[in-house]
Every structure is written in C-alpha cells, then in structure tokens.
C-alpha cells in the first residue's frame, strides 16, 4: 500500500510517501492511523490527534472510519486550505 503525507503530516513524519504492508487487523483508515503511530516518533507525533487528520483513498476523500478495502494509495493530511 502506498501512503502519501501532506502539509504538517509530511513534515512531522519527515517524508512525503512510503510503502507499507499493514497487518490484516488494520481494516479502516482509523486503524491505519493507530498502526502508523507505532512506526516512529515522527509518525507518533503526526498521528497524535486523529480528529485533526483527513484522508483520501485512491484520490477520493473518505471519512476516517472508511474501510481500506483494496486501497492502493492512501493519503493522510490536515483539513484542506486552498483557494
């Protein structure tokens, strides 16, 4: 699974993307966030407040309780601030 990070999520983790193979019990985006928090202090810092995170699966916005299903690309980022 390809993970993409943007804005302060990217900065805290210290990279913009990585490939991961989460275990089978990681079924939702929220599960993924919890699992990622254990990977490094930077990940922990970035994932510390899930309510401040937003997500996209295969380039579509999804709620955090969305199932990962057959997701190929999952992105995590703060609420958008364009325009």
């Amino acid at each position: 699974m390809d993970l993409l990070y943007f804005a302060w999520v990217r900065e805290r983790i210290g990279m913009g993307q990585e490939q991961v193979e989460p275990p089978a019990e990681v079924r939702s985006v929220a599960d993924l966030i919890g699992w990622l928090a254990t990977r490094s202090p930077g990940h922990a810092e970035a994932m510390r407040a899930p309510e401040r995170l937003r997500a996209a699966i295969d380039q579509k916005f999804v709620p955090l309780d969305a199932p990962l299903g057959a997701a190929r690309e999952v992105a995590l980022f703060p609420p958008v601030t364009g325009g």
Partner: protein, 148 residues
C-alpha cells in the same frame, strides 16, 4: 468546455478571460484570489496532491455544469511559493445568462476551498505556520447543498 490548471507559474487573468470570451457567452463571471500581506505574511507556499487535485477540480466543474447552463468553466490554482499581491486562484464561468455565470462562479470558489487538496503555509519572516482550515469556509461550501 472545462479548463483546469495547477501550475507554479503566475496566473494570467487576461489570457484566461480571453479564452472564456471566445465561447460566445453573454456573461462572464470571475473570481480572483490574491495573496494578502496581513499579519506580517512575507510569503505563502501552496502544497497540493498531484493527480487528486486535478480530479477534484474537474469534478467540481462538472458538478457546476450539471447544475447551471454553462458554456465554459475555468479553474486555475497556483502552487509553490507566492508573495503578497500574487494571484493564487482564478475561477471563471461563461453562460448565456448572468445569474448562472455568477452563481456557478460563487459555487466553484466556495467548494474549491473545501473539496480540493491544497494546503497553505504562511511565511512570516523566519517563522512559518500551516494555515488552519476555517469553519466559515465549510459553512460557505455547505450553503450550496440546500440548493441556494
């Protein structure tokens, strides 16, 4: 005709307008967002999600075309580093009737703020901060759901 562009080059409003006018519409509405220098902001950096951003803007333009009778929609967003006074976003609509052009233009800029993956980082001299999303932008985007 839908035109979507995400580019680090300056936005050329005159060129965008000329392209819209070529569609033979009776009315053109535009919105241009400009980087403000409030609160000591010296630069603004725009990050986005390549691939998804273009899809999100095209989806918004298609939604507008389904809701209003439009001849053309243009959405241009600048990314990278900008300074106060630079244009950051341009939305333009062309229609036979002014109300459709105006309403669609307002819809597109309101929804762009909440539906497209862009993130702003403000530079204030040596310090930098990510801009927080604003509740009033969500409210502005939501008003279009009621069919206003």
């Amino acid at each position: 005709m839908i035109r979507v562009s995400i580019d680090s080059a300056p936005i050329e409003v005159a060129i965008e307008l000329a392209a819209l006018e070529e569609r033979g519409a009776g009315g053109l509405a535009t919105f241009t967002g400009v980087v403000r220098g409030d609160d000591g902001v010296t630069a603004l950096e725009l990050e986005h999600y390549p691939g998804m951003t273009e899809q999100a803007l095209i989806a918004l333009a298609e939604t507008a075309c389904a809701r209003w009778s439009l001849l053309a929609v243009t959405m241009v967003h600048r990314v990278g580093v900008m300074v106060p006074g630079d244009r950051i976003v341009f939305v333009g609509t062309a229609a036979q009737h002014r109300r459709e052009a105006l309403d669609a233009c307002g819809f597109l800029i309101d929804r762009l703020k909440t539906d497209a993956p862009f993130w702003k980082r403000e530079q204030l001299g040596d310090a930098a901060r990510w801009v927080d999303a604003r509740a009033r932008d969500v409210d502005a985007a939501t008003r279009w759901e009621a069919g206003q």
